[in-house]
Subunit: 421 residues, 2 copies
């Protein structure tokens, strides 16, 4: 597909979307099963393509962490195929009828849930995203244009070839899933301005990618993925539970957007919470950046605790670093969060229902947690069965985006020759 | 407010939004009543300011139609005040709790409907939009930054001054409603890039304004307002009703986006429909641009019928012009609409349920009509009680946007020290 223009990819995607929009759930599920089958039967070729990408990445001196992300193994490929089969089991939201009513003039109106149309997804080096996004888009009747990282060009070409064969076998248009393999960044710019054909852009990557998309797209962009996450521990919090929850929010997977960045501690609880917390987190390898009031309570962390600087507030660390600040109470915590949160995931640990209620009312984030880890802001964890992105913008969808968030609706208005008066 | 920067307006709006987000419905309704009261008690000053705008517009040689749009009269101002009181009667969607459930691990989750935050609205010369948008945003707890046409600078300043006095009287922050009065287009560019403070941009105007916003904004833009609207009359249509519906769709208010632009007629029905239709529409002053097959059936329109050119398909006329094309049947009609529709409002007139079903399935527009005028694509007409814009994009909202579409949601997750496994 290298030789065709992004404009042509867009045109083909829109034509495929037209065909796909009214395909029934059974056919789409058959196609998903066929994709899982092709991924398995074509495993040798896919893994060989991936080995080529890995070899290039090693030759280019990419970090071990990056290489690990892009590496496919037989077990990982099988897990990807199994994930596609899992999508078969999810409910298809397309075709749902809602907001039905009859107006006083007799007009019968309702809304019907329909695919968005053509979705462009721009992501980085994980080849599993290629299959994951393609299967969720297919399930919801959307055509998708994929643009992965240049490190995964061969892997993505092999994966998409398998997917397209499965689509054809299932009687669906192969242009429902296309990939832009030309590594030039100009192709991304072209995709971002293809508003004639593309209905939504989902960037999956760091802050730079999101900003690049926002600034250059003429198509609606789902902004997300950037989480400066806070947790406030008030004086009534159950301290026996606080350390495990903070530990989980920071340590379980520090490289992701719903990991904790800043801990806010009510002054009166600091002497009871911070020594044990410092011991626990230091043992887990966390670097603690504490404000001057918190610092004396955290000496148990030894050299793992350092004084915080201004740059430690409002920073997404994406690593085993936690900033810690003492606040006078809920008001100061809310002010800090209002100022520094990116609106992703913020939490309170409290036994005071009034404090929990105020926190939930006043924190303006995609997900607000009471006595739970911020790590739950995830489509799978919140019971959606899947996730294509986590949105931190306010329009369309907020928080985890699953199948329903890959749909829109149309109004259907039925009359008997009705005219507007 | 002329002397403060757009950046400062944004910062103040965001601070006001924080206050406004949790104000109860009663307080917001009291503020709306106060606005209606201020508009009435300040009528002399508002009308005097408007007379200044009208005098300037006349001196600048603006068209009578434009001057009529910007002119306020005592009756029009009273109607605007009454509209604000009407908003009091609508249900406040903010605070609604939905998608509630308890996960197997005991986490209690639900979504709560909340204001979007700060809304920027860019519009042209109708001063009623100023009050309309401000009242709908206030009802939904959003702060709003208004940017009207330069012809209405004085009127808008007077209207917003009245609104802000009412907000203060009701105990709400006056910065919930601000207006950018500096006429430089640079201010619009600044507003479009204020993503730190503004959550949504709504352009209300022509295609050029929408494109300018899409191309320059780093904030999500609600695109809409451009309607190339089609109506397909198939061979089973009730012809006694067809002429009145087509007449209504074209003639009732030709200058708006849901007015009919292109009529598609199934070949076999043309000889029975088109002569009577031509007579009717010609009498109403409609210019008919007919393809060569339709033309012979429309001679009754005399000099009002002319041959269509390629430019007459896919054109939004916004005036008493209708293009007419003969098609072989539903397939050709669907192809034409797929190619030329802007996804606003498209209709079929048919007595065949299978044809109606296919049309509804396959036409990908915000509103699809069966045996009804396209003019019903309007928040008031579809029973929403109000309308801030009509969206033709796929994200967030499609078709008329009313109060609910001025809100988003947040996820609320409550546990007892839950950690992610």
């Amino acid at each position: 597909m290298d030789t065709i223009s992004v404009e042509l990819i867009g045109r083909r995607a829109k034509a495929a979307a037209r065909q796909l929009g009214n395909v029934d759930a059974t056919t789409k599920n058959d196609a998903l099963r066929a994709i899982a089958g092709e991924l398995r039967s074509d495993a040798d070729a896919i893994l060989a393509a991936n080995e080529g990408d890995v070899a290039d990445a090693q030759a280019a001196g990419l970090s071990d962490a990056l290489i690990d992300r892009l590496r496919l193994t037989p077990a990982r490929l099988e897990a990807i195929a199994a994930d596609v089969e899992h999508v078969v089991l999810l409910d298809d939201p397309v075709g749902q009828r809602f907001d039905e009513r009859i107006l006083p003039n007799g007009l019968r109106i309702h809304k019907r849930r329909v695919p968005i149309g053509v979705v462009g997804v721009i992501y980085e080096s994980r080849p599993n995203v290629t299959v994951d996004v393609a299967s969720l888009c297919l399930k919801t009747g959307n055509a998708v244009i994929l643009r992965g990282g240049k490190e995964t060009t061969r892997s993505n070409a092999a994966l998409v070839a398998a997917i397209r064969r499965a689509l054809v076998a299932a009687g669906l248009p192969d242009d429902a899933v296309q990939v832009i393999t030309d590594p030039s960044r100009d192709r991304v710019l072209e995709l971002l301005r293809l508003d004639q054909y593309v209905d939504m852009i989902i960037p999956r990557g760091g802050a730079g990618l999101h900003q690049f998309c926002r600034e250059n797209a003429t198509i609606p962009v789902i902004t997300g993925g950037i989480g400066v996450c806070h947790m406030f521990v008030d004086s009534t919090a159950d301290l026996g539970k606080a350390v495990p929850v903070i530990h989980n929010a920071k340590v379980q997977r520090p490289s992701v957007c719903n990991a904790l960045d800043t801990l806010l501690v009510e002054r009166s609880v600091a002497p009871r919470l911070l020594p044990a917390l410092a011991t626990d987190l230091a043992a887990a390898g966390v670097e603690l950046r504490a404000d001057e009031t918190a610092l004396p309570h955290m000496t148990a962390a030894g050299e793992r605790v350092v004084p915080a600087t201004d740059g430690d507030w409002g920073t997404e660390f994406l690593s085993l670093v936690l900033s810690v600040k003492i606040v006078d109470g809920l008001d100061e915590a809310l002010d800090h969060i209002w100022r520094f949160s990116t609106g992703h995931s913020d939490a309170i640990l409290t036994q005071d229902p009034a404090a929990a209620a105020r926190f939930v009312d006043e924190v303006d984030s995609a997900a607000v947690f009471v006595n739970a880890s911020t790590r739950f802001n995830d489509g799978g964890q919140l019971g959606l069965g899947a996730e294509v992105a986590v949105s931190t913008q306010k329009l369309h969808a907020r928080g985890p985006m699953a199948l329903q968030e890959l749909t829109t609706y149309k109004w259907i208005v039925e009359g008997e020759g009705h005219v507007r008066v």
